[in-house]
């Protein structure tokens, strides 16, 4: 008799627990989640326009890197380094304009008195001097405060 009573009580307890358990699940209205990537945030995988001059300049830059720069060490006080600046300039503005940008950079590099009153600092302590500031396009210039450290 007692055992029957206990069983019934147990079932009732269990039933009541089951009835009222997890009610939050209904209340919070769980949303269906879509994992498809939105068009706007799809990574842009378009390749950089690899022009012939850029290919040639990149080739010579690699030769320079292999036979001179890697042996000489990381001595350029700028970021990007002068050789990379040349490649990026040609990619940014074409061969003629890129060459002029490089010669200007080279002259600035020869200035022994250059300092952080002229250039912002890259996080590794070099002067940050990107080529897009020298394309003669006012819209492309991103001004950074000289001496400020950039991540």
């Amino acid at each position: 008799m007692l055992s029957r009573f206990l069983i019934i009580t147990f079932i009732l307890l269990l039933q009541s627990s089951c009835n009222f358990a997890q009610t939050d699940w209904v209340k919070w209205n769980a949303q269906e989640v879509s994992y498809t990537i939105d068009d706007q945030v799809k990574p842009n995988k378009t390749a950089v326009n690899q022009t012939f001059p850029l290919t040639v300049v990149s080739f010579f830059r690699n030769l320079y890197g292999l036979f001179i720069s890697d042996l000489d060490g990381d001595n350029c006080p700028f970021y990007p380094s002068c050789s990379n600046f040349f490649v990026q300039s040609v990619g940014e503005a074409g061969l003629i304009k890129g060459s002029l940008m490089f010669s200007d950079r080279f002259l600035r590099d020869l200035n022994l008195l250059k300092g952080k009153n002229q250039y912002p600092l890259y996080k590794i302590g070099k002067f940050y001097d990107p080529p897009y500031n020298y394309t003669l396009s006012q819209e492309k210039i991103i001004y950074q405060i000289p001496g400020k450290v950039i991540d």
């Binding site: 627990s17 009222f20 002029l100 200007d104 600035r108 020869l110 210039i141 405060i145």
Partner: protein, 293 residues
């Protein structure tokens, strides 16, 4: 064990009778409160608002406003967007309060502020010039904001008399400085810099303030020119042409670089002006009153 159970069955019955209702009604207290009623939403939203958790507060206010139309809550709802920098949504919601009885003036002021901080200065000026829902209680503030907006874009600055008269005397001297800095910026002309470097290598760089770069350019091109002439004189034509070519290359690069340096200089002038103006007005809350509900 069995004997124990049989002997104490009454106690067990009592025990289970107590336990059963506890389990049955354990969750019901929360149900009775109905945390998702409009009133609870409002309470929670107001708490979040006071804690400056504006994003979540806006969600609670939105739910509340589905059931109850309340201007104060609607104003707070719009303010949430304003505070988190969603100025377009803020402006849209403030617009809905233009016919409100109590918050009409404040919502119009907040609308103009939202448009201003959205950096939609042209819309701001068109609205002001056409007297689109001008809050007459705050007309002076809006007028000041109207004139401040000219500092932030490339529009032509208005006449000085009207401009300065709208600012309090304590700010006038600084505003005058900003006005003339904007009107007559100390820009360097890239063409002049390039021409000067064409005349004397490095002079364009000195003109834009890059003095050491200028002297370096002069030195390098000078040395290369000297080497070219000297080699030609001594009939070393190959070396002569080599140094002449290098000299011409750096000469051209220096002319180009002087123009680029002038542009960077101008970008710096603009940047410094913008940051000075923004800092000045932000510190003073754009000379606007703080609305507290």
């Amino acid at each position: 064990m069995k004997g124990f159970l049989i002997n104490n069955k009454f106690l067990f019955c009592i025990y289970f009778l107590f336990l059963l209702p506890i389990v049955l009604y354990s969750q019901n207290y929360i149900d009775q409160q109905n945390l998702f009623s409009p009133e609870s939403r409002l309470k929670f939203g107001s708490y979040l608002y006071s804690e400056e958790d504006y994003l979540r507060a806006s969600v609670e206010f939105r739910e509340y406003l589905k059931y109850v139309d309340n201007d104060t809550v609607r104003f707070k709802f719009a303010t949430c967007f304003y505070k988190i920098g969603r100025f377009q949504e803020a402006a849209d919601n403030f617009k809905g309060l233009f016919t409100s009885r109590n918050l009409q003036q404040e919502s119009k002021l907040a609308y103009y502020k939202s448009v201003f901080f959205q950096k939609n200065y042209s819309l701001f000026r068109i609205s002001f010039n056409n007297e689109f829902h001008i809050p007459w209680d705050y007309k002076d503030e809006i007028k000041r904001l109207y004139y401040i907006s000219f500092f932030f874009d490339n529009s032509v600055l208005p006449d000085t008399n009207n401009f300065f008269s709208s600012f309090p005397d304590s700010n006038k001297s600084v505003i005058k400085q900003f006005y003339f800095r904007k009107k007559f910026p100390e820009y360097k002309n890239p063409t002049t810099a390039a021409l000067l470097s064409g005349l004397i290598p490095g002079l364009g760089k000195i003109y834009v303030g890059e003095i050491t770069d200028g002297f370096t350019s002069l030195l390098v091109t000078g040395v290369l020119t000297f080497l070219a002439i000297d080699n030609f004189k001594h009939n070393h034509n190959f070396r002569g042409w080599l140094f002449a070519g290098l000299g011409a290359y750096f000469y051209g690069g220096n002319i180009y670089g002087s123009a680029a340096a002038a542009q960077i200089f101008n970008a710096g002038v603009k940047f410094n002006f913008d940051s000075d103006v923004r800092l000045y007005f932000e510190k003073r809350n754009y000379l606007l009153p703080e609305i507290k509900l």
